[in-house]
């Protein structure tokens, strides 16, 4: 099936070339960082996690989001998603590989990465995160490949693979829960120390993952002659709406706890993110525009979907715009605000704002491009098989 990636029109090759250019730049930036050290990033003593870890956190969500396709199809036998589940599985593969790349980019001694496996440490959430991520990656590779091969041969997938499919469902939940536990078990970090962190992560994941899949489907409809079906897309947008609403609700709950309890530590991060935090006469607010964009995009997207549902209309373009709005809103909320907001006040009550460096952004874009490349190739295979079956 691999051979399918080598056949494509000029637009396909152009797209790959653009991605490869980004990957090339990212690779050069990474080599610089590898030779010099993490000093090339905008991170520092007071703010020692940055863009890499926040992208990792967001992408774990994208990977988990595939669950919203797998679960209805395999558990509830919701046939409409039949053509989509493979896309969810392949998206999960690509996002987890991106996650692992972000982790490797973030550690100070990448050559010692194996220490995580050589000295398993059950008290560390990072160890369990690695376990569930690798597990979920493996499960998706197995399920995706076996099911696609079966489809190509036009036979039913072997029975045993369903065991892996069912196991992958709790795994999808666990990858995001454990990632939330990286944050929400740390003493003295009020913004993260919240029992609602894991549910909040899951809600945003169940919106962001499917939103990306819908966008991919709409693009493939135009360029690759692949139609997921109107009903499937409509159901997906419903799922996205509910998940995004629940996520917004959770964020509001955080506001309530912070502002009603009036405990400074619980308010600082929210203040910094949404209004600007004053300290010794200086106002720190570099994320305020991003967070308000997130709010506007989220409610804008929800409004757009609501309009389309009520009026029972909606063009592909409108759906696409709605999904992009929600996806970007969630990226700003989780891929930027959550990590930076928690870090802005250091344990020594000092305030440090984060500005990623060009090198760091180069690596980040390179990894995203790698992810897009993987998704493109995997989807190319999946659609190639579809077309073959139809023909």
């Amino acid at each position: 099936m691999i051979e399918k990636v080598f056949k494509g029109n000029s637009r396909y090759w152009m797209w790959l070339a653009v991605l490869c250019a980004f990957i090339g730049v990212g690779a050069i930036c990474y080599i610089r960082q590898f030779l010099f050290g993490l000093g090339l990033t905008g991170m520092g003593r007071d703010l020692s996690w940055g863009l890499y870890i926040s992208q990792f956190t967001f992408l774990v969500g994208v990977a988990a989001g595939g669950l919203m396709l797998v679960l209805p199809y395999y558990i509830h036998n919701y046939k409409v998603f039949g053509r989509l589940t493979i896309l969810g599985e392949f998206l999960a593969i690509a996002s987890i590989i991106m996650c692992l790349m972000f982790i490797m980019a973030d550690i100070g001694q990448p050559l010692r990465g194996l220490n995580m496996i050589l000295h398993p440490t059950p008290n560390s959430m990072l160890f369990w995160d690695m376990v569930v991520l690798l597990g979920y990656l493996g499960l998706n590779v197995i399920c995706g490949w076996v099911i696609l091969t079966a489809e190509r041969k036009q036979v039913k997938p072997p029975k045993w693979v369903y065991i892996f499919v069912y196991v992958s469902i709790p795994f999808a939940v666990s990858i995001h829960t454990v990632t939330a536990m990286l944050y929400c078990g740390l003493p003295g970090r009020h913004f993260w120390l919240s029992a609602i962190t894991a549910p909040r992560f899951l809600a945003s994941a169940f919106a962001a993952g499917p939103a990306l899949i819908v966008v991919a489907c709409l693009i493939m409809k135009r360029v690759a002659n692949f139609d997921a079906g109107k009903e499937a897309i409509s159901k997906l947008t419903t799922i996205i709406m509910y998940a995004a609403l629940i996520n917004a609700f959770f964020v509001l709950l955080e506001f309530f706890v912070g502002y009603y309890s009036n405990i400074p530590g619980h308010k600082h991060s929210l203040e910094y993110l949404f209004f600007g935090l004053e300290h010794n006469g200086h106002v720190y607010n570099n994320l305020v525009p991003f967070m308000w964009s997130s709010v506007l995009l989220c409610f804008g997207g929800l409004g757009l979907f609501a309009y389309m549902k009520i009026r029972k209309t909606g063009t592909d373009l409108m759906i696409g715009i709605g999904c992009v709005m929600i996806f970007v809103a969630l990226w700003l909320d989780k891929g930027l605000g959550f990590v930076m907001g928690g870090l802005v006040v250091s344990p020594l009550e000092e305030i440090t704002e984060y500005y990623p460096t060009a090198n760091e952004i180069g690596i980040t874009l390179g990894i995203w491009a790698t992810g897009f490349l993987l998704v493109t190739l995997l989807y190319k295979i999946a659609i190639g098989v579809e077309h073959e079956v139809e023909a």
Binding site: G37, L38, Q109, N123, L126, L186, G188, E349
Partner: protein
């Protein structure tokens, strides 16, 4: 040998940590009784005499073992920033701590900070003049229940069972900086780049670090193993501002100070049980 002496020999469990095989000895406290007992000799001399005795102590120890701790008597440091600077300089020197002039990448093991930064959980409302005008000395608290150790995925940071020191294995650390997230006291630093060019005065007795690993105060485990006191304590010895010893030994000087004086710990509500106490 008196009981107290044996206790301190047990502290030499730090030997293993420092990777020094010479049997370690004696004078580990500022207790005058010990200093005058004639064994305050440099380690090379004491080693032969004490070396064969050390292993025997393991069996007769109190079950809870040694828990090293520190009391910082700020009353003796108020208005004397030069004393604190002396302590800091001594630590920097013995541990080859790079002097990096940027807030972003600096490395600190022991440093000064205003009260509200060090004790944010204590009210600073209508604080006394002394409190407002003086900086406080901070370092890793060698917590009894350290979150930094709990979160480390490689056991690169660990509690030394012999004496309660929270130590670092620089060769195992992968530089994930999770421990920095876990520590609620900001006690840890990361080598964002190669630290060696920034070492002012090289001390061949202590390893330098490579880039990409985390480091912090180690309660001078390597000096204890040689029968010396922590460098910061030694530097400000005459002032008596720092008291160091076994928190589990009711006879130790530090316990006597703790029984007599009112002390506070940093962020006690987090349950980390810091082993550094402050008299303010």
């Amino acid at each position: 040998m008196d009981k107290q002496r044996r206790k301190f020999l047990k502290m030499a469990g730090a030997t293993a940590l420092a990777g020094i095989s010479a049997p370690a000895v004696v004078k580990l406290t500022s207790s005058p009784a010990l200093a005058s007992s004639g064994h305050g000799a440099p380690a090379e001399h004491g080693a032969a005499e004490e070396g064969h005795m050390a292993p025997a102590h393991g069996t007769e120890e109190a079950p809870k073992g040694v828990r090293l701790g520190m009391v910082i008597d700020m009353r003796k440091l108020y208005g004397k920033p030069e004393l604190m600077e002396k302590a800091i300089a001594a630590c920097n020197k013995v541990h080859n701590i790079p002097q990096i002039d940027s807030k972003k990448s600096e490395i600190k093991w022991i440093w000064e900070m205003p009260f509200e930064n060090v004790f944010p959980e204590h009210s600073s409302y209508h604080a006394s003049k002394t409190r407002e005008e003086n900086d406080f000395l901070v370092l890793c608290n060698h917590c009894d229940n350290p979150p930094c150790v709990r979160v480390c995925p490689t056991k690169a940071t660990f509690v030394n069972k012999e004496n309660g020191i929270v130590a670092m294995d620089f060769h195992r650390c992968i530089g994930c900086r999770f421990c920095m997230m876990g520590c609620p006291y900001g006690a840890r630093s990361f080598n964002w780049e190669n630290p060696r060019p920034y070492i002012k005065e090289y001390n061949p007795d202590f390893p330098t670090r490579m880039r990409g690993v985390v480091e912090k105060c180690n309660f001078c485990g390597e000096r204890l193993a040689l029968g010396k006191e922590p460098a910061c304590l030694e530097a400000v010895k005459e002032s008596g501002a720092i008291v160091f010893g076994d928190l589990n030994d009711p006879e130790s000087e530090i316990r006597k100070v703790l029984e007599k004086e009112n002390t506070i710990q940093r962020k006690p509500s987090l349950g980390t049980k810091p082993s550094v106490f402050y008299i303010v």
